[in-house]
Amino acid sequence: MILSIASGKGGTGKTTVAVNLALSLKNSHSLQFLDCDVEEPNAHFFLKPFIVQKQQVFIPIPEVEEEKCTFCGKCAEVCAYNAIAVIKDQVLVFPELCHGCGGCSLLCPEQAIKEKGQKIGIIEFGSADNPQFIHGKLDIGQAMSPPLIREVKKHMNSLRTVIIDVPPGTSCPVVESIKGSDFCLLVTEPTPFGLNDLCLAVETLKKLKIPFGVIINRADVGDNKVQDYCQEENIPVLMTIPMDKNIAVAYSEGKSIIETQPSYKQKFLELFKKVQKFIK
């Protein structure tokens, strides 16, 4: 089973839910944990994996062989991202705009463009313990996270129960992370900000045709509008977590909820059972 944890709004508790679910299930299930929030990965603070392997990730960017180039301008014409420009007798490449589609090198009439790797980040692999841990880390100053997310997901082991920690938002990095999931948990908070972004996340999942349920974090602060919305839209609320300063303090120290309040383990196991029922 592939289960992703997303939210729309940042800071609602995605990572908290993802790591506590993983820690609650690890004695009974063979797990893999993928942290796809490659811009700001945080799950390792709580799962404390022992990193045994690192892999650099590159995207292909064009490299022009000046002696073959006739400066015809075809590459600049076909590039949809303005990542390559021809000025008189010079070809300029802007790696930060390149999506690595390969169009310029494929379509160059002189075959004057080769591709070289531009490093965008790394993937780190935890030891083969349970959960098996993998995360990506985007290099500072790199703009494009989807290729790195794709690379993390290439290492998915679908024989295990896979838990994916998704970045905030609703745009391409989120879609890339959630795509292919069997179920998605949306973590929100009962505030207008939480509701606004929950609605956007719900639209995203409907578009992707992935079943989902909601978890309301800090459920006793704010208002009832998230509850009302879920009821109206027939969206199952699978768990609520109350506002608890102890949880916030534990989080700040890199401790999971079940580490400080073991009774939560049962709640996360029940959550997982509910999710399993939805998938069947």
Partner: protein, 294 residues
């Protein structure tokens, strides 16, 4: 004219609460929400939309079945796994995966592929009681959030110039990727809002490094600093060591959530420990921007 951007790396640290409060304090400014895929500032500023603009970030490939011979050339060249063959041997494009590179369009021997403009969002010019406000809504699951940010910022600059406004305040998105870089580029000052958790510290360090990478002057403030005093001290040390001015320590206060629920910027909601600290932060920001209080 100066530009201030509020970023955080980690989501949910309080960017929009601070931006909304600054909207009530600063005069002669334009407010901009650059968190285009999960915008929230409008929930505090209650804009009256005056102009709506369509935004197209790019194209998507579309296969014309009557021309397609099913040769599969397009399948081989697509690097985004956006093209696939159905059980009925029909070739289809997944518009969600398509990044609009058009390589399939160029390579197709039958000219059976067209590139269609995809409508990927809207942006708005609005009026609020705090002055002009530019905001946007990216289509669901769309690309090009960076392009939309750039579009929105261009308009904000135009409005500021036209009306002789002194400052543009940008509420930025979380993370480090393309919309963040687009929000940050060319600004005069980045205010990084962090929180005293291990995640907050880690994400702050990364986003500060990013701001410095793009040579932007950077300052930090800690939200909910009293949740973990030890971690707050660690942030202070880190800032000091890296010559990043730490210009505020905002305490934890449930009034923040209450003001959000009411849809009122915190500084207007009540006089409390948080609004007091945000006012201090504003004075520090003015100094860093070399601006007079106005």
């Amino acid at each position: 004219m100066k530009q201030l951007v509020i970023i955080s790396g980690k989501g949910g640290t309080g960017k929009t609460i601070i931006s909304g409060s600054l909207a009530t304090i600063a005069r002669n400014k334009v407010m901009v929400d650059c968190d285009v895929d999960a915008a929230n500032l409008h929930l505090l500023l209650h804009p009256e939309i005056q102009e709506t603009h369509q935004f197209s970030g790019g194209n998507k490939a579309k296969i014309m079945p009557e021309k397609c011979t099913g040769c599969g050339e397009c399948l081989n060249v697509c690097r985004f796994s956006a093209i696939s063959k159905t059980e009925k041997e029909e070739i289809i494009v997944d518009p969600i995966s398509c990044e609009g590179c058009a390589v399939c369009f160029y390579i197709c021997p039958e000219e059976a592929i067209i590139m269609e403009k995809s409508l990927s969002g809207e942006w708005f010019v609005s009026q609020t009681k705090y002055g002009p406000f530019i905001h946007a809504k990216l289509g669901i699951g769309e690309e090009s959030s960076g392009k939309l940010v750039t579009e929105v910022r261009k308009k904000a600059k135009g409005i500021a110039e036209k009306n002789n406004l002194d400052l543009i305040i940008i509420d930025g998105p979380p993370g480090l990727g393309c919309p963040v870089i687009a929000s940050l580029s060319g600004t005069d000052l980045a205010l990084v809002v962090t929180e005293p958790s291990l995640s907050g510290i880690h994400d702050m360090e990364r986003v500060v490094q990013m701001a410095l990478h793009f040579r932007t002057q950077t300052a930090c403030c800690i939200n909910k600093y009293d949740i973990n005093l030890q971690n707050s001290a660690q942030i202070e040390n880190w800032c000091q060591k890296n010559s990043i001015p730490l210009i505020g320590k905002i305490p934890f206060n449930l009034d923040v959530t209450r003001s959000m629920v009411q849809g009122i910027p915190l500084t207007e909601f009540s006089e409390n420990s948080v609004s007091k600290e945000i006012k201090n932060i504003w004075l520090e920001l003015l100094k860093l921007l070399s601006m007079e209080d106005f």
